[in-house]
């Protein structure tokens, strides 16, 4: 006879055969479980399905407890939450693996590099581009210019060299463009909300793209004649051809983003008026002002800000430089400046940097290429005076430096060598030691002392509820494009949450991570990274032609095949990580000994078991026994050392018919098969 009870206020009807889990699931109340599957007998191992019943002193396992007439069941009490979270934290305290690859985790925008690299490997270029668009809308542009933190983290370098992730990204985007099948943004139905974005650089455009996808109307206001911000006006043509950028901006524009150029905040549009006319405002103004060196002689003619110099170039101007040019600074802007100076015809180009090459923030490849193009690096020197005649720069005095104790950033601090100076004759100085924001027109109350916009790190909200900020203009200061993009991606989510009336904060997901060493890859066959074809130094030094040709398809396929696929194959189906995030786990609480065991071949070549990912839910061996009718798998050892293993010696393993039921039911990535099978959980 059926009975009725309530769970979280929902009235549920249960048949005699029902448990709380089955009847609640049918009624739409979700109860998490790792070890239940109706194809097997009730087991009760995981403790994740615990529920509280009024009047029952103990917590009950929903998978086994029979509901009784009039039961008042709760799944959302603090006690239930704590018990479930503890179970998950205990499991995770001995769960070793990489939910996601280091490439993805090290990308500020969390681009799923492993996924698109493998889509490229399979020739699914359009899928690869779609994967990138889940993170940001500039695969071709960012693929060309990104200093690629993903590659810094790539474990392939423990074999020989990292995967060429960035260039593969550009390849995929160029390929779909060449095939005439570019990405089209899919937008949610219009919400009727309108967001104003000030600044059309990587941050502003990315935010616009995501906000359109959420269904909001978006207008970008930008002071420059064209959109693109620093991607257009800060990065020279030879690195990022404007046509590539135009093409990607067009995709965003085609999604219905309104682009308004040549308007400056405070001059052409009023901040308060903007707020009035829109439901939310995002300030993504960027950082367009080169820092001064604060040395005497900065006002001499011939001393130019690096960013301003590049901006002129971006406008199509060809600034005149003297024969001897010195660039001060060690970042990527300094590299863009010195290499542009070479291309503009300067005979002698110096980079003056107060530390050594090891401390330079610029990418290695940029430094290499600058050297190839004839740039002279003067390390451990610091300008202390610009001098000249009649207001015109003639040279600079350099203080010789040496490295002292490490500073707060961990880099060794440069200290002057007393009395050691050097004078060099120069015609121009390009100052590229950093850049700051220019927030004219923004309400004073939103600014920091440094003139940037103050906003929260997780909500991107300023002190005004409807005003958000992202990118170089914020209190976190100027960084690389992908950082600004990453902020914009999260800010767009927060703005969407705000417009939908949800909690604004962007949640930082939990991932299981592990450390690997080169010893772990000793058996991996070596296959070097593909060389990017391009212009020789001689061919490129006197023009602004793009220096790279891009990978050929053969190269791209070869390169993509090098991926070690560090991230777990089961991430999207894994119930453990899903629940871990749903319950805000902190497994560090129970940090202790972690197993490190070899993978177990279950059925040769077809099924492999990773005991370090196993949660001992028992589903694999129970499916084998109760569904497949074999008793091929079983538990060995006791307590903390318990492990799933084939019950027969290796030579007898033909007993397994590879029906894959064990893989199908595994709630984590512990059971892996080739080819993969669809994971399935049957609750009702």
């Amino acid at each position: 006879m059926a009975i009725t009870y309530t769970i979280d206020g929902v009235t549920v009807t249960a048949e005699p055969a029902d448990t709380i889990l089955t009847s609640a699931t049918r009624a739409g109340v979700k109860i998490p479980t790792l070890c239940f599957d109706k194809r097997t007998a009730i087991y009760g191992a995981c403790g994740v399905c615990l529920v509280e019943v009024e009047g029952v002193p103990k917590l009950l396992r929903a998978c086994s407890a029979k509901p009784q007439e009039g039961y008042v069941v709760h799944t959302d009490t603090e006690r239930v939450d704590r018990a479930r979270r503890t179970a998950l934290e205990l499991l995770l305290s001995d769960h070793t693996g990489d939910c996601r690859g280091p490439c993805k985790l090290n990308c500020p925008a969390m681009t799923d590099c492993q996924k698109y690299v493998n889509e490229i490997r399979e020739g699914k270029y359009k899928d690869a581009v779609s994967t990138i668009y889940e993170a940001f809308p500039f695969p071709a542009s960012i693929g060309r210019v990104c200093p690629h933190p993903c590659e810094d983290a790539c474990r392939r370098q423990m074999v020989e060299e990292p995967i060429s992730i960035a260039f593969l990204k550009a390849f995929a985007a160029d390929k779909v463009e060449a095939d005439g099948d570019p990405y089209v943004v899919q937008c949610e139905p219009n919400t009727g909300k309108h967001v104003a974005i000030v600044g059309g650089g990587p941050a502003g455009l990315t935010a616009a793209y995501f906000l359109r996808r959420y269904g909001h109307a978006v207008t970008i206001y930008d002071k420059q004649p064209k959109m693109g911000g620093m991607l257009r006006y800060g990065i020279p043509e030879y690195r990022l051809p404007k046509a590539v950028l135009d093409r990607e901006i067009a995709i965003i524009a085609n999604a219905g983003v309104e682009l308004v150029n040549d308007v400056q905040l405070g001059r052409d549009i009023d901040f308060e008026d903007l707020r009035k006319r829109h439901d939310a405002v995002l300030l993504a103004l960027g950082a367009w002002k080169s820092y001064n060196m604060r040395v005497p002689g900065e006002d001499l003619e011939g001393v130019i800000g690096g960013i301003e110099f590049l901006e002129h170039l971006g406008h199509g101007e060809r600034p005149t430089l003297g024969e001897k040019v010195a660039v001060c600074g060690g970042g990527n802007t300094a590299m863009d400046c010195c290499r542009t100076a070479v291309r503009l015809g300067a005979k002698e180009v110096y980079v003056v940097y107060r530390r050594t090459r090891a401390e330079m923030p610029a990418s290695d490849v940029e430094i290499e290429e600058a050297i190839e193009e004839g740039v002279t690096f003067k390390f451990l020197t610091n300008p202390i005076e610009f001098y000249g005649k009649d207001g015109r720069l003639e040279g600079m005095k350099l203080q010789i430096m040496e490295l002292g104790e490490p500073d707060a950033s961990g880099r060794r601090r440069p200290v002057p060598v007393e009395g050691a100076t050097e004078n060099i004759a120069i015609d121009n100085v390009l100052m590229a030691i950093g850049q700051g924001a220019n927030c004219e027109g923004v309400a004073e109350e939103l600014l920091t002392q440094r003139g940037t916009i103050a906003c929260d790190e997780l909500t991107f909200r300023t002190s005004m509820d409807d005003v958000f900020a992202a990118g170089d203009v914020t209190n976190r200061g100027a960084g690389i494009a992908i950082q600004a993009i990453a902020e914009a991606q999260k800010a767009a989510l927060c703005i969407n949450n705000y417009l939908e009336g949800d909690e604004v904060r962007a949640k930082i997901p939990y991932f299981v991570k592990q450390e690997k060493t080169p010893e772990d890859f000793e058996d991996e066959p070596k296959q070097n990274r593909e060389k990017m074809p391009g212009l020789t130094p001689e061919e490129r030094r006197n023009n602004f032609e793009p220096i790279y040709f891009g990978f050929t398809e053969e190269q791209a396929l070869r390169e993509a095949s090098r991926c070690l696929e560090c991230g777990c194959h089961d991430y999207f189906d894994c119930r453990l990580i899903k629940f871990a995030n749903a319950f805000d786990v902190d497994p560090e609480r129970f940090a202790g000994f972690m197993h490190k065991r070899e993978d177990v071949p279950v059925a040769s070549e077809v099924i492999v078991h990773d005991p370090d990912k196993c949660v001992l839910c028992g589903l694999c061996y129970r499916m084998c026994d109760q569904v497949a009718g074999k008793t091929y798998l079983g538990l060995y050892n006791r307590g903390f050392s318990t492990v799933v293993n084939p019950m027969v010696p290796e030579e007898a393993r033909t007993f397994c018919a590879s029906c894959l039921k064990c893989v199908e039911a595994c709630p984590t990535g512990a059971m892996k098969s080739v080819p993969a099978v669809e994971r399935k959980t049957c609750i009702v």
């Binding site: 009760g44 615990l50 503890t86 179970a87 202790g592 028992g618 307590g639 903390f640």
Partner: protein, 586 residues
């Protein structure tokens, strides 16, 4: 005259076998007085083993204790001379006799009295009278259960569940086949009363099971005995054979319709198999892992048939209750806990062994009145009740009476009756670690809370006793304790935190001293102590230096010695060796 040698496992371990062989040899050569030589089980006075009981021609008992092989001749001579005063030096002291006299024996009524290998001896002591009465006077199943209900008998294995309730549930459960199972997997370190019953009075178990089987309608019974009890298995096997031969087991017992067969299953030594559902899994040939309850064994037990499980001591009470009536049993004890309970007294106690007392007796009476207090005149610190599932009870709670609820209120449990006594030199952190190490190793690995939780707790306790505890560790332990109690699947996991929780409750200061001051107040944790020699006391006898395994002690004879701390491994041999108390622990 009858010469009876105590040959339980404890007696045998103490050398009873040699005494027996020697006596046998002597009597075989010449037995002018026709003296009989026999054996009996453990009478509970393990601290006096080997024990030889001589019944003189008047039937009077002369108990000789700590008998060695070399004493056999004297005993022989005394028996032959019919003058037991000749072996007065071996006679038990009046003080030690009090150990037994202060007890009330129901479950252990014939242990150490009868010959466990003789069914006739059992029959001579009211043996099989209860089952005969039931089957020949037409007592119904309910009549029997009624007596057990009146007696208020509760499970003696640990949880203390009402026996009558379980029997009724199993009886009322529908099934073509029902089973009656005896849990003799006695796994608590420090508990050995079940072994004593099987080794000393196996027929009382069989009779208790017969009555249970009759009450629920079971026709098949299994005794799950741990393989570490080989003697128990031998004696029970013989008892089953003898009982079958005499018609107490088999078909149409006592001419009635009631049939019951009994067999033994030897367990492989997993603690968790003492948990009833894990025991059933093991009986079915599977890995010993608990099942979820419900369904309870009474509904779906062995092979999913209605089954009843009780432990040895519970069954051992049953025939007595039928013979003497439920009221007689219920007359002993407290409101909620009736009858008697057997405790295995061990640790730093003066007289260790098996003690059976009426419920309601205070812990103080058991430990001081019967057990003789702490050995070597040291201070009582705590007593661990219920083994690894129980908890420690401090000196301030010594007047707690033995009662399921009263003991539970202290944070400990009645459990199966393990009583490990600790003195001032026992470190409570180390003790909690010991029990947790046991449960972590014995966890079957099935449920997360027990498998992972006990491991993480053990790691925390490991670092505390190693002097590497961190601030907040005690709170972290508490968190884990409550989480495991709430989340673990079976009794093993749910009770595993008890020793730690009671240690935190009563000895928090001691834990904190390890963490905050890197100090072991009891002077037991090796990582936190150092040994040194008090120069003013040392006489230079060199005893310590000779016992030091790493030659860390130097000094000339008759001159004060010194311990080199860089070599010392803190084994404590020196302290044991020193007869002058010159070795000090700090």
């Amino acid at each position: 005259m009858r010469v009876v040698i105590g040959e339980g496992s404890c007696g045998i371990a103490a050398g009873a076998g040699g005494v027996h062989a020697k006596l046998e040899e002597l009597f075989a050569q010449s037995n002018p007085t026709d003296a009989e030589l026999g054996i009996t089980g453990c009478n509970g006075m393990c601290f006096l083993e080997p024990i030889v009981d001589v019944y003189d021609n008047k039937g009077e008992l002369h108990r000789l204790v700590k008998v060695q092989e070399k004493d056999a001749q004297a005993i022989y001579d005394a028996v032959v001379a019919n003058d037991l005063s000749l072996v007065d030096t071996l006679a038990i002291t009046a003080e030690d006799e009090a150990f037994l006299n202060k007890q009330t024996r129901v479950a252990l009524r014939d242990c150490g009295v009868i010959d466990p290998e003789s069914i006739d001896d059992y029959l001579a002591h009211e043996g099989y009278a209860a089952i005969t009465k039931i089957l020949t006077t037409g007592m119904s199943q309910e009549d029997v259960i009624q007596q057990i209900d009146i007696a208020g008998l509760r499970g003696r294995g640990g949880a203390g569940f009402s026996t009558a309730f379980k029997w009724r549930a199993a009886r009322d459960s529908k099934g073509d086949q029902k089973y009656l199972i005896c849990n003799a997997d006695e796994g608590d370190p420090g508990a050995f009363m079940d072994r004593a019953v099987i080794e000393g009075d196996p027929h009382s178990l069989i009779e208790g099971m017969l009555i249970g089987a009759y009450s629920i309608g079971a026709s098949e019974g299994i005794v799950y005995v741990r393989a570490e009890y080989p003697l128990a298995i031998v004696r029970l096997t013989k008892a089953i054979e003898d009982a079958t031969e005499r018609g107490y087991l088999g078909n149409n017992i006592c001419g009635s319709d009631f049939s019951f067969t009994l067999r033994i299953k030897a367990g492989a030594g997993a603690f968790v198999c003492g948990e009833e559902t894990a025991l059933i899994e093991s009986l079915e040939g599977k890995r010993g892992m608990p099942r979820l309850k419900p369904p309870f064994p009474a509904q779906a037990g062995y092979w999913l048939k209605p089954s009843n499980i009780n432990n040895v001591e519970t069954y051992a009470n049953v025939a007595w209750i039928i013979n003497n009536g439920g009221e007689a049993f219920a007359a002993m004890g407290t409101k909620d806990s009736k009858g008697t309970k057997v405790f295995a007294l061990s640790g730093k106690i003066a007289r260790g062994g098996l003690v059976e007392v009426p419920m309601g007796t205070t812990l103080r009476e058991v430990i001081y009145g019967i057990g003789g207090g702490i050995r070597d005149n040291k201070e009582f610190k705590a007593v661990q009740l219920g083994g690894p599932s129980g908890g420690c009870v401090p000196a301030s709670k010594l007047d707690t009476v033995i009662d399921y609820n009263e003991l539970a209120a202290t944070g400990a449990i009645m459990g199966s009756g393990g009583m490990v006594v600790m003195d001032e030199s026992t470190c409570m952190a180390s003790m909690a670690r010991f029990f947790l190490d046991f449960t972590a190793k014995e966890s079957c690995g099935k449920c997360v809370h027990c498998r992972m939780g006990t491991k993480r707790m053990l790691e925390i306790l490991d670092r505390i006793v190693a002097g590497e505890g961190q601030e907040g560790d005690v709170e972290k332990l508490e968190d884990l304790c409550y989480a495991i109690k709430d989340g673990a699947l079976c009794g093993l996991g749910q009770t595993a935190p008890n020793p730690v929780l009671t240690t935190i409750r009563y000895f928090r200061d001691e834990l904190e001293a390890h963490i905050a001051e890197h100090r072991c107040p009891a002077g037991e944790c090796q990582a936190l102590i150092s040994y040194s020699i008090n120069k003013d006391v040392c006489v230079g006898c060199t005893a310590c230096a000779r016992q030091c395994p790493v030659h860390a002690i130097s000094g000339s004879p008759k001159q004060p010695h010194e311990i080199d701390q860089t070599i010392c491994i803190k084994c404590g041999n020196c302290k044991t060796a020193c007869r002058f108390g010159a070795v000090v622990v700090a």
